[in-house]
């Protein structure tokens, strides 16, 4: 399989990239590690005329901002995030999630920004269409869906591992273009539309990622369910954060985010509300799991049935919550 032809530009800073993107208008695309973009280009799913590579651009190190936020560059490789002790101390959930992405090779090349900005996935979509599924589906500009033929929209699933963790950490992202900069909560980055998962316009990029510090007792856990346990996207993933009162037993606030069940990560808000103010116990956790199952309906994807995904969701949420709770005690 060969890459389509394109013009290659090198950029040394996010600012320069923003400039270039607006100069080339919709024909250009930013490439960070390229681990997600290049396979899509080989499949003919992305055909930028200009590729703006940031591979050699300098990357600022993680730091704690004046307001106590952990500030990360989107250009950090996943390996760098994984290896950063500052990240491990301030956002262990992120370290854990990053360590489960793809494989060592992918983490060496892939970046935080690229991970957040990856496309939704679908077996009918992530292949070239030279002789299979030639007729375009919704996501490729057509008007059918192969996966859920009765559906009127695209059901492709967002499968990135890092976004769910950032949801549960209540992270924010800086979005920049040549003329404008704004900071939005991570949840605002995703539209919830399989066909076009991100709110970013072609001129916009992620400039920075902010993770608020926790002020108090916290336990967190990331649970990724996959068959092969490596070199594989999640069948589903759960990122759980339990912030506790000083007694170490009462939950002050909880965030449970589920990945790979829809076009964007999904917060289990009823389940979260259900535990808040309660003692963490077998019963309250089981109740939370029950509530989460009521509010989240996994989209069947990658050959898995919804029955199986629901059962797995139950097991994984329960697992993530128990581990998170166990970690509070350890602190």
């Amino acid at each position: 399989m060969h890459l389509p032809r394109f013009t290659y530009k090198k950029s040394d800073s996010l600012e320069e990239t923003a400039q270039l993107l607006s100069r080339y208008d919709t024909g250009a695309c930013l490439m960070a590690g390229g681990t997600e973009l290049l396979p899509r280009m080989k499949y003919g799913l992305a055909m930028p005329e200009v590729l703006i590579s940031m591979k050699r651009s300098p990357v600022s190190s993680p730091k704690i901002g004046s307001d106590g936020d952990l500030v990360l560059s989107p250009l950090m490789t996943l390996r760098a995030v994984e290896g950063s002790s500052l990240v491990r101390e301030n956002a262990p959930l992120l370290s854990e999630a990053v360590g489960l992405v793809g494989s060592g090779e992918i983490r060496h090349m892939g970046t935080l920004g690229g991970n957040l900005c990856q496309e939704t996935r679908c077996l009918y979509y992530n292949q070239s269409h030279s002789f299979q599924f030639k007729k375009p589906c919704f996501k490729r500009g057509g008007d059918i869906c192969y996966s859920i033929p009765k559906g009127k929209e695209c059901w492709a699933v967002f499968m990135g591992d890092i976004a769910p963790a950032l949801y549960s950490l209540e992270a924010k992202v800086k979005i920049m273009s040549r003329d404008k900069t704004r900071i939005i909560p991570i949840e605002g980055l995703y539209r919830g539309d399989g066909k076009k998962p991100l709110i970013l316009s072609p001129h916009e990029i992620i400039g920075e990622i902010f993770i608020p510090g926790s002020n108090g007792l916290r336990g967190s856990a990331f649970s990724k369910f996959s068959f092969r346990g490596g070199l594989e996207f999640a069948v589903l993933s759960v990122a759980a954060v339990l912030d506790m009162e000083d007694d170490g037993e009462t939950c002050r606030s909880a965030r449970i985010t589920v990945g790979a069940v829809a076009a964007a990560p999904v917060r289990a808000r009823c389940a979260e509300a259900g535990i808040e103010g309660k003692n963490i116990s077998d019963r309250s956790l089981s109740e939370a799991v029950r509530q989460a199952l009521d509010e989240i309906r996994p989209v069947p994807h990658h050959g898995q049935t919804s029955g199986f995904l629901k059962e797995s969701l139950k097991v994984q949420i329960r697992h993530a919550l128990s581990v998170a709770a166990g970690r509070v005690k350890k602190d």
Binding site: L123, N126, S128, F131, G229, G230, H302
Partner: protein, 777 residues
């Protein structure tokens, strides 16, 4: 066994250094001056008439050097099996009709891949879609669309029957009547690919004088030459097929493929070399995988577990053309006949055409599917009878010297010992009882243990029926072995060198191997049907003994001794007891030229399995002899089942195998570990997911081949039943295919032992486990 120097030793692979240093050149790496890139246009329809193909725009594209469609071919059909009953059923390029998504319709050769790709887009094909069918049971129904007419010899009112095997012995009705217990079960297996790392690739160069040179990643050049010559209308001698290193095959590279034919024809048309390499996606979505079988078994036994009768129906979803579909339904009968004694059998196998890509051989060629079904059911019977799984197997296992219903003999079969030693080594009986009693603990992890057996033939009669080899001495006393055999990573060249080394006493690293070239090396059975070590090995041994004899005769003369008193040792000959007065081989070489009318000491040898049987057995009735050499094994699996997630882990696999004797224990262990890892993928992870003839996961990312961290501990026990003696033919057995089979049923049986859930289909997914446990409704 006499003292051996090379055979039986843990000698490192000859191809090892090249491969681990990256120096090995595969067909994929080959380039020739002026070489063009070929690409293939494939059908997007599962079943359609081709109304018109317009290539004019593609031909006009600058950089395009040749475009071919069926119109450029002689219209000669080919197939893996070509017999009067099963005439060839496939064109190298589709003519008038396509029968599966991915079928080859046209091909182009261009100066680079971009132009080639663009040219494909410019070819306009008008299709008229026809109704298609993908499920074999539906395809057999009278109202199903017809893919090919049902074979005229099939009497039942079924449609789309590409082939049928009908066999049996004794009288099953009597057997069932005498049975104390009977049961009927249905098992299904799924579609897997081989996973060879080098995708399919061929480089063809047609010389103006009329010679076609082709390098292709295959399992043996002779079958390719035969089919290429015939479909291209060239004399056999005008086609030369050669090899480079092969990046894996596992059964997937035996048949003639369209890319080989197209590379050749494009080169003939363009007058330049043409290379066609399949993408991984093409391999997944358009090439041939293994064969998913439906196996229905009715079995009757006595109270004590003795098998009395089996009625078996195998339905093979063989895809749009026969491929090896009719071979599998024949072999399936053999996998029933082999490991257990069975007085009465009624067997029916159907190869059913569907609008899926055709299928081919895959390591074990039906044995894993059959053994999964048969050994699962045997455990279910044992459970009903309150018998131990080991006992019921020992009760029915074939004994040495038993004659098989088809006239073959199992000779020195070591099956009983395999079962006993595997069970003993793993503490099977105690664990099996203990696991069952765990029942109600809260721990979600449960342990289980299971056992199963299998048997595989080592070389059978099929074209080309024989192997021969030439061993020639070089001036310096080293040797060159010329063999048609192909090292596809299994170590053929190392094994053959060890045998030659032992016979002539020349160290393995002083033996150069020239292999698998239809022009310069003698014919060989090829690296499939598991005959390499036995058939080619004996041919090489014979060739080497001729050299040995010539050396001894000459040395006897020179040393004035009798040949019996001479010792060959590390390229020297001396009289026993006087190593000080030795003659070097290089001096004997010179002496031979001088004294033997210029004879440079060349030996030729040949071998054929079942030398006295003229024909291969009937695919239709199984009549006739099949093999004279069967390997046996018992495998034990220990698993850990997570009852919450449904995930199963193979913790330990123990293989007790009767391979005769290991010529190279290191390579035997490598084959065992490789087969365990392949079976592990088969059992848990790998599945080519298809919907309506199209492949949903055509990539390594979405097709889950196991990673190194998924591997299980694999242990092996050699059950030695043969010896190797210099100067005598041997009957050592295969280790390359049979050991991928029993472990599947062993895993299924271990899962049952752990959680009481019986699985009737592969793969053993978490969803099936959770459904079995009642967690998913």
């Amino acid at each position: 066994m006499s003292e051996l120097d090379y055979v039986g030793k843990r000698i490192l692979r000859k191809d090892g250094p090249d491969k681990i240093t990256g120096r090995a050149k595969y067909t994929m790496d080959m380039r020739l001056p002026g070489m063009l890139v070929g690409r293939i246009l494939r059908s997007p329809c599962p079943h359609a008439r081709i109304l018109n193909i317009d290539t004019s725009r593609a031909e006009k594209l600058p950089g395009v050097k040749a475009v071919i469609t069926a119109n450029d071919t002689l219209g000669i059909k080919h197939a893996f099996v070509e017999t009067p009953r099963y005439p060839p059923d496939q064109y190298a390029l589709a003519a008038n009709r396509v029968r599966y998504v991915g079928e080859e319709v046209a091909a182009v050769a261009a100066i680079d891949p971009y132009v080639a790709e663009e040219a494909l887009h410019l070819i306009q094909v008008d299709y008229e879609e026809m109704p298609a069918v993908f499920d074999p049971i539906e395809a057999m129904r009278q109202d199903a669309p017809e893919i090919h007419p049902t074979h005229p010899k099939v009497k039942e009112p079924f449609k789309n029957i590409g082939g049928k095997t009908y066999s049996g012995w004794g009288d099953v009705e009597t057997g069932f009547a005498q049975s104390d217990y009977m049961r009927e079960d249905r098992f299904e297996s799924h579609l897997r690919t081989h996973g060879y790392l080098e995708t399919q690739v061929a480089l063809a160069s047609f010389e103006p004088a009329g010679k076609l040179n082709i390098w292709t990643s295959s399992q043996g050049p002779f079958i390719k030459r035969e089919k290429l010559a015939r479909t291209l209308g060239l004399p056999l001698s005008a086609v030369r097929v050669q090899m480079a290193y092969v990046g894996g095959a596992f059964g997937g590279k035996v048949d003639l493929y369209a890319h080989e034919f197209c590379a050749a024809l494009l080169s003939m048309k363009a007058g330049l070399p043409v290379k066609i390499a399949a993408t991984r996606e093409e391999v997944f979505a358009a090439y041939r995988h293994g064969q998913p079988l439906i196996v229905e078994i009715k079995t009757g036994v006595k109270k004590d577990g003795t098998l009395l009768a089996q009625q078996i129906r195998v339905i093979n979803n063989c895809g749009a053309y026969r491929g090896t579909g009719v071979v599998v339904i024949f072999l399936a009968w053999g996998f029933v006949m082999l490991p257990y004694r069975l007085p009465n059998l009624k067997y029916e196998g159907y190869a059913v055409y569907t609008n899926n890509p055709p299928r081919t051989a895959q390591r074990g060629h039906g044995a894993p599917q059959l053994r999964f079904a048969l050994d699962s059911q045997l455990d279910m019977i044992a459970e009903e009878l309150g018998m131990d799984p080991v006992e019921i197997r020992l009760k029915n296992a074939r004994q040495p010297g038993e004659q098989l219903p088809n006239g073959d003999n199992v000779h020195n079969c070591g099956l009983v010992e395999c079962i006993e030693r595997a069970a003993e080594h793993t503490g099977f009986r105690e664990k099996h009882l203990q696991n069952r009693s765990v029942g109600t603990t809260l721990d979600p992890l449960r342990r289980g243990i299971g056992i199963a057996v299998s048997s595989y033939h080592s070389g059978s009669l099929i074209y080309p029926n024989s192997s021969s080899a030439v061993v020639k001495m070089n001036d310096d006393g080293t040797l060159t072995l010329m063999t048609g055999a192909m090292d596809i990573g299994q170590g053929a060249e190392t094994i053959l060198s060890q045998i030659v080394a032992e016979e002539v006493q020349v160290p393995v690293d002083k033996i150069e191997v020239i292999a698998a070239d239809t022009e310069t090396t003698p014919v060989d059975i090829g690296s499939w049907i598991s005959g390499n070590t036995y058939v080619t090995g004996n041919a090489a041994r014979e060739a080497a003994s001729v050299v040995r004899k010539k050396l001894l005769d000459l040395a006897a003369e020179e040393l004035e001794a009798s040949p019996e008193d001479l010792v060959l040792d590390n390229m020297r000959v001396y009289v026993a007891g006087s190593p000080g007065r030795a003659l070097k081989y290089r001096d004997l070489f010179t002496a031979s030229i001088r004294k033997r009318r210029g004879d440079p000491i060349i030996g030729e040898g040949h071998w054929r399995t079942m030398q006295d049987v003229p024909f291969h057995p009937s695919l239709a009735t199984t009549k006739g002899r099949w093999s004279e050499n069967y390997a046996f094994d018992a495998q034990v699996a220990e698993v850990e089942v997570n009852t919450e997630t449904g995930m199963v882990r193979l913790v330990r696999a123990v293989t007790a195998h009767d391979c005769g004797f290991p010529i190279n224990p290191l390579l035997v262990e490598g084959q065992i570990d490789g087969q365990i890892s392949m079976a592990l993928g088969h059992a848990f992870l790998e599945e080519v997911i298809m919907k309506d003839g199209r492949t949903l996961n055509p990539s390594w990312l979405d097709y889950h081949m196991p990673c190194i961290h998924n591997m299980a501990v694999s242990e092996s026990i050699d059950v030695i039943t043969e010896t190797y003696d210099v100067g005598r033919s041997y009957r050592t057995k295969e280790v390359g295919e049979g050991l991928v089979s029993a472990i599947l049923a062993a895993i299924a049986n271990a899962i049952f032992n752990a959680i009481g859930v019986r699985l009737y289909s592969t793969p053993f997914t978490p969803e099936k486990i959770l459904r079995g446990l009642g967690r998913i409704k």
